[in-house]
Structure formats: structure tokens, C-alpha cells
Symmetry: C2
Subunit: 505 residues, 2 copies
């Protein structure tokens, strides 16, 4: 195949794959409102599209085009004379093809069947709070993940090729070198906060009318620069962000009268993801696989940056609290701005990851990363996982787990066969702080936030992060934005200033 044809083929297959992925996202989105018995066929519809995606993404036509453009295992981004964007496209497509092709279709089917049925088993076990019900299928999943790592191939650590699916190019030892010191530093912060008087946040849990909550969070989304011509907010049990088209980014939340902080922060969190998704689709990137985030941790860095660094700052509430407290005069009658700020930043070690505050959150992740690695290497047997979990939580956070439901069974990820996903949550926090510090060199973020129009922040992130899509690997993009390698000291310094010395940040 000559180069011109190879390029045409590559672009056309890439375009089709992106369309098929967006169609699949629409089928998932619509599930929320489908009638109960629709589920069975919907799964088959999704299965059909996923099969088509797999066939196209690993097919001979694509391989031939990539090879004609000079791609091979040693040079995944193809010939040197290709322009940088094309090189990135070649790299992304070659990487996926080369990894996916190593899995036999038998293995893929077994893996998919096992994890599909595991979901029900996990849900039941969680409901009954009985890890022993989940143990046999988790054992099977760990075995399959070990096989998967073998199929992919690795140098030092079977965890590497799994992690690479979410954080391209990153190794388990890279994560370890960040998490090891981080663990101690976070524990030190928790230690310093112990003994301080407990913050009262009970007023957050009164009755807050949903329409007023919605009014306020729409206002915040507008201030962030969420484009309602290209996106919308829906409802679902678990909040998420999904891309149904280059100009169709949807986020969800779950409003509840009984709580005002959690729906708002889930909106800001998903709003951060949405800004990233909206920012990657532009110019020649639009409609290609390069119109994606650089990695999962990069994605999470943006949701966290908006949720925590912007949305939980003193400046944010200095700007918005007058209006917010006017919306809910009865509920916030005796609550001043500072008391409100303290409440939404209350630190309290607990058992549940998704309820964790900014300081303890990453310790929950470190626990999962450590256990995943041990399970995969065989150093920890599934039958000993519950005890290992409970011991580790006590060690890291000084908290006792009272039931499997609140412990080892709380997360869905392992039932889905996803090892290597969890670390990206904590890495997101670390990236976020590092990017935030870099941004401060160009943007006076404190006054911007206090002013209530966040466009200078949005513009900075758009220009320096979002607009690059996945042209660069996360490591390279981080260097480009912050001029340094991954460095958790920004994160620790942010947490220390905000929580220990209680300075602004």
C-alpha cells in the first residue's frame, strides 16, 4: 500500500471506530431510561458493536496501513517524515492493535463472560456483606488477569501491561515511587489533624429542595465554561461523564433533598471531566482517536482540580456563598461563610473510598494498589484478601472495618476485572496539584475564582492540556505543561497549606 492510501485507510478506519464508540456510548446512556426488560437485547446490541470495534481495530486493513506507514514494535509511531499528529495517530492505533491482537478470541470471551457474571455475584455478596460469596469468582478473575498480563507480555512486573491500558507508558514501579513517600506524608498530615475539634457539618444534611440545588449547580457549570450547546446534565444512580459525539458530552448526577454538598461536588467533578472532553475535539483532532484525554489520571486530574482546588477553595465560597445562602436561608440561618467552608472540607478518616475527604482519599487508593499488585504476583491469596484489606486500612488510616460491605466489597472495579485502574485516581490528585501550581505562574487563580468567572482558568487548561488530546503520552504532556517530571510534593504542599496551616492555597 502506498503511503497516501495507507493514510487514507488509517484515517477512515479511525473515524469509523470513533463513531462506533460514540454509538456504543449512546446505547449505554439510554439504558438509564429503558424499560426493565429491554436490558437483555441491549446487551446484545452493545456486544455486536464491541465485536465490530474489536474486528476493525485489530483487522488486517488497519495493520497493513500502519505497516505501510512504518510502524512496528520498535517504532510504534511510524516513519520519521510523518507530521507529529499523524505520528500520534499511528502510535495510538498501533499500540491498541498490537495489545488487543495478543489476546485470543477464546480468552476475550472467557474474560467477558466471567466478569459479566461476576457483577451479579459481587452485588449479591455486597448486599449480604459476605466476602466468601465473591471469593471464588474473584479467584477466577485474578487468574485471568495473570493470564492477560502474560498474553500482553512484560519485563519486570505483570502489573505493568494492565496499568498501561489506563496510563500509557507508566510502570508499577513509577507508581510505587510516588505512592511510597506519599503514603507517609499523607499519614503525617492525618496525624497532625487528629485531636483538632471536630467540624460540624450536620447542616449539610437537611432538606435542600432539588430545583434550587439544580439552579445553583447550573450556575457553577456556566461559570466553569460548560457549553450547554455541546452538552447536557442528566440523572443516574452513579454520576458519570460520557461522550456521545464530538459535540455531545453528557454528565449525570443524582440529586437528593437530604444532602446539598455531594450532588454539587459530583456535578463539579463530572463538569471537570466534561470540560476536558469538550476541549479535545477541535480542528483536525475532532472525530479522531486523538480527541481523547492523555490518560485516565490526566482525566481525573481535571475533575479533581475543578472539584477540590477550585470548588472547595475559600475564594470559591467567598464568591458564591452570599447567593448560596440566599437560596437556602432556613437551612443556613446560623452558618457563616467560614463554618460552611470548614464543613465542606471536613477531614475524617473512614472506611468508604467514595465518601473520603481530600486528605484521606489517596490512602484508600494506595491500599488498593498494594493489594492488587500482591494478588497479581501471587504474594497474596484471594482467600486472605479480606484480612489483608482490614489490616491495611487499620495501618493506613487507623480505622476498623466493621463489615465486608464497608470493606473489601465496597468497589465494583475488581468484579469488572479492572486491575490498574485504581492508581489513576490518586495519580489524578497528584497531577492536579502539579498542574495547578504551573497554572499559578500564568493565572492569578485566587482572584479569578473570587471573581466568579473561571474562564481564565478554563482557557489556560484548554490551551495547555485539553487541546493536545492524546497527542502526547501522559508523562510527556505533564513535562510540557509543568516543565518537570511527576512530583507529589505539589500535592503534599497543597494539602499541608490548606489543612494543616489552614492558609489559603
Amino acid at each position: 500500500m502506498d503511503k497516501e492510501n495507507a493514510l487514507k485507510t488509517l484515517r477512515s478506519i479511525d473515524n469509523e471506530l470513533v463513531l462506533l464508540e460514540h454509538i456504543t456510548a449512546t446505547l449505554y446512556w439510554d439504558q438509564e431510561e429503558a424499560p426493565p426488560l429491554a436490558q437483555e437485547e441491549r446487551s446484545r446490541q452493545i456486544g455486536l458493536l464491541e465485536k465490530k470495534i474489536h474486528e476493525l481495530a485489530t483487522g488486517d486493513s488497519l495493520m497493513e496501513a500502519l505497516v505501510s506507514l512504518g510502524a512496528d514494535e520498535k517504532k510504534k509511531d511510524g516513519d520519521d517524515d510523518l507530521d507529529p499528529e499523524t505520528k500520534a495517530l499511528v502510535r495510538q492505533r498501533y499500540r491498541q492493535l498490537s495489545k488487543e491482537s495478543r489476546l485470543s478470541s477464546d480468552f476475550v470471551r472467557t474474560f467477558s463472560e466471567t466478569t459479566s457474571s461476576a457483577h451479579q455475584v459481587w452485588a449479591k455478596a455486597r448486599q449480604d456483606s459476605d466476602f466468601s460469596l465473591f471469593e471464588p469468582v474473584l479467584e477466577k478473575i485474578v487468574g485471568l488477569l495473570q493470564q492477560k498480563a502474560d498474553f500482553y507480555g512484560f519485563e519486570d512486573d505483570p502489573y505493568d501491561p494492565l496499568l498501561d491500558n489506563f496510563e500509557p507508558g507508566m510502570k508499577a514501579r513509577d507508581v510505587e515511587s510516588v505512592f511510597s513517600p506519599l503514603e507517609k506524608q499523607l499519614q503525617y498530615i492525618v496525624e497532625q489533624l487528629r485531636g483538632r475539634p471536630e467540624v460540624d457539618d450536620s447542616f449539610l444534611y437537611q432538606s435542600y429542595p432539588v430545583d434550587l440545588q439544580k439552579k445553583f449547580s447550573d450556575k457553577v457549570l456556566n461559570a466553569m465554561g460548560f457549553d450547554f450547546d455541546r452538552g447536557k446534565v442528566g440523572l443516574s444512580t452513579h454520576p458519570y461523564t460520557t461522550t456521545l459525539g464530538a459535540d455531545d458530552i453528557r454528565i449525570t448526577t443524582r440529586y437528593t433533598e437530604a444532602s446539598v454538598a455531594s450532588p454539587l461536588y459530583s456535578i463539579i467533578h463530572e463538569g471537570g471531566h466534561a470540560l476536558y472532553e469538550m476541549g479535545v475535539s477541535h480542528g483536525s483532532l475532532k472525530g479522531t482517536c486523538l480527541a481523547n484525554a492523555a490518560s485516565l489520571a490526566f482525566h481525573e486530574s481535571q475533575s479533581r482540580l475543578w472539584e477540590n482546588m477550585v470548588g472547595r477553595s475559600r475564594e470559591f465560597w467567598h464568591c458564591f456563598y452570599p447567593e448560596f445562602s440566599r437560596l437556602f436561608p432556613a437551612q443556613l440561618k446560623n452558618v457563616d461563610e467560614e463554618a460552611f467552608y470548614q464543613a465542606i472540607n471536613r477531614v475524617k478518616p473512614g472506611t468508604i473510598r467514595v465518601d473520603a475527604d481530600e486528605v484521606t482519599y489517596s490512602l484508600h487508593i494506595i491500599l488498593r494498589f498494594n493489594l492488587e499488585r500482591k494478588l497479581l504476583s501471587g504474594a497474596l491469596a484471594v482467600k486472605d484478601l479480606r484480612d489483608a484489606w482490614n489490616d491495611e486500612l487499620r495501618r493506613l488510616l487507623g480505622v476498623d472495618v466493621m463489615s465486608d460491605k464497608e470493606g473489601v466489597l465496597q468497589d465494583v472495579h475488581w468484579s469488572m476485572g479492572e486491575f490498574g485502574y485504581f492508581p489513576t485516581y490518586a495519580l489524578g490528585n497528584v497531577y492536579a496539584a502539579q498542574i495547578y501550581d504551573a497554572m499559578k505562574n500564568e493565572v492569578d487563580v485566587d482572584s479569578v475564582i473570587e471573581g466568579g468567572d473561571f474562564s481564565p482558568i478554563h482557557d489556560y487548561l484548554n490551551k495547555n492540556v485539553y487541546s493536545f488530546g492524546s497527542i502526547h503520552d501522559p508523562k510527556d504532556l505533564l513535562m510540557k505543561v509543568t516543565k518537570e517530571d511527576l512530583d507529589a510534593s505539589h500535592y503534599i504542599s497543597y494539602l499541608t497549606k490548606k489543612y494543616v496551616s489552614q492558609e489559603g492555597y
Copy 2:
């Protein structure tokens, strides 16, 4: 290909096509809630799926399988030793493949591009009430439809192969032989009603709270046997029914406070379509193309039967009026059951098809059928269409058209290049009355309706119509259900009794 493999291939391709069609329906459904700028990519997503459907439905694999099963132009349902259901499957797939293959891909693209752009032009022309704006593109469309008929091939009438897309096996002269006498009989009924005192229906246009309207229409859907585990009701500007999966049938309506009858009857109408869609997917038909209505007119017969024969009967309101008037005590203070019944059955010749009553509705259709045929044969030029329309409406209904918007520009169908669709609306009325009379031999419909639980009617239709899916051509199914050929006298007798002699029916 041996027969066993051919059967396997046929079934697998048929299954995949049905899944792809349901996925496409989901993409259309979701458009209603997509953000404004999402439209552009959504069109490309739908285009991709439609291309895949076309390729698969006209591809070599399917052709090879059909030929191996003995299908050819003379024997479209294949070898005699196939079971009846397989023969029907072979017939449906062969018919589609054979017709679609006759259109060159160039022609299909030109047709699709022309009708896509025509929609905007029509909408603008309608808004400005100026037919001359729409004239040039309609001329192009008529030319393309003439070509299409030539590509398909025909014996007597170019209208036949177009009509056949909606009403398999029916010819233009069959329609004519029904419509010619029907026209005179309907005009005779209209004549007899002229001079009667005008019915007051102004109380239908007060303020009716939407939540109460919804409560009542859900109750009616329940009485009809609409299965909320397999379906749901949504909102859209124009009401419709769509099938997103064998167990996922959705209908829409548009509630408005200012009117109580139109949303209710659109719900019952679409509910009738939905019952048909729910009834075709069962046993071995489920997931195949046989899980479809026998034809468009058959489909319409079911929406009309439920909407008019059941939903506008004296018995229906004798059962439901007490509850209905309790829901809206202020609005219906001085309105007794008989006055209400008269109002929702008010006959008044007008210019707009979708607002037409039961008696005059089919005359609007006959007008369109006559004009379509003349345009296609060349007997009528597009430039003379507006005058022809206005003359014909005066002749048929004695009504003057005051603007193009209320006349020749009122319907979207021609801008979509759909000739042969309109007659199925009136045929639906005719089928409905004939089936209703047949049902009366087995079911005491009057007392069933008066009892408020319509399951005996639903059961009858399920057993005698819905459950056959598209195994039989409409002509054969009608014979099976009613033991006679298409006969409009049932319809005329129904209208005469109900409207002229004002007996129950």
C-alpha cells in the same frame, strides 16, 4: 453452500440486521434530548449504520444463502420443503435484497442528499407559506422517484413498486378500486351531516393540568394492555412509536394544558401501534425481521382501531367519563357524558389532515394518492400542483385553502421522497373496520369496552393479527383474519351507523 449452513447464515445475518436497526432507532430516539450541536455527528453515526445495514442486506453472503435455499425471482420464498416460517423469512429477505440491489449506490446517495436538503427547504417554504420555494426541489424529487420506479421495474404503473415498499404486494389499481367508491360514499356521508347543528367542543380547549392528563392516559394504556415492563411513554414534538429492542417499545406524545383530547388520542393511537410491536416479538419470531407488522396499513389499522373504534365509542366514555369528569370538575362542570361524546366525535371538513375527524380523514388521503399518481406518471406537473391541490380539496370536501401552509405544504412526506406512504393511512381505516367486524363474531366488544378491561380485545388481536408478525403478506393476513378480501363496506357501514344514524357501533 449446503442448506444447513445457508439457514445458519440467513438467520445470523437477519439477527444482526435487526439489532442494527434497533440501534439506529435508539440513535433517533436520543436526538430528542441531545444538545443542539450534537446533530451533525449524530447524522453521520446514523449514516454509518444505514450503510452497514444496506451492505449486509444486499451482500453476497446473504444472496448466496438465499440462492442455496432455492430463492429466485419466480420463487421468492425458496424451496417447498422449508417450513412456513423459514419460507417467510426467505421471502422477506429476498424481496428486500432484490429491490435494494436494483438501486445503484450513486442513485441512493443522490436520493438521500436531495431529500436531506429538501427537508430544510420544505420547512422554510412552509414557514413562509410559499410553495414556489419548494417547487424546484420537489420537481427534482419527483424525477428521482420516476427513476426509482424504473430501477425497481413495474408492469402497469410506476406507482406500484413504490407502494410495494409500504404495502407488500398491493398495486395502485387495488388502491384505486377501494378509493373510487369510498370517495363517493364518504362525500355522501359528509353531505348528510351538513346542516346538522354544530357541535360545541370549546370545553376541550380549556386549561387541563398535564399531570392529571398523564394520570388518565396511563390508566387507559393499562386497560389496553400496554406492558410497562417492555415499553415506556416519552415526549416529543410529533408523537410516534419506535422499537428499540424486542422488549423495548416506546411511544411519545406532546401534552399541552390547552387541549385535553388531542394528547389523549395521540397516546391511544400510538398505544395501538405499540401493542402491535409488542405482540410480534415472541417465540421463534423474536429477534428476526418477521417480528414486524404485516404492512404499514396493517399497522395503521391497529392504531386507528384503538383510537377511534374503541377510544371514541360511547361505551368507552360510559366507562371512563365518571372518573374523567372527576379529574377535571371545573372544566367539565356543565358537560354531560353525551355532550362530551359528541365533542370528541365532532365532524367538520377542514384543510388540515392531522386535525381531520374520522369521517373526512380518508378524503384527505384520497386527494394525496390521486396527486401522487399524476405527478409520477407525468399527467400533472409540479408547477401546477398547488392549484390541483386546492381544486381537489374543494371538490372533495367543499373547503377553500387560504394559504400554501394549510394546503400543499402541510405534510412532510413528499420532502422525504415518500410516495406510496399516504394511501396506507386510509387503508388502515378500512382494514380496521373489517377486522373489527370479524372480531365481533368472537368478542362482545361493546360490553368489554364498557367494562373498562380491554384484554379480550387485546387477546383477540394478539392471537389473530399481532402474533403472525410479517409471516403473511397483508392480503393473506386479512383473508386469514376476516375470511374475505379487502372490502370497504365495513368502514362505510361503521361510519354511517356511528355518524349518520347515530347508533352505537
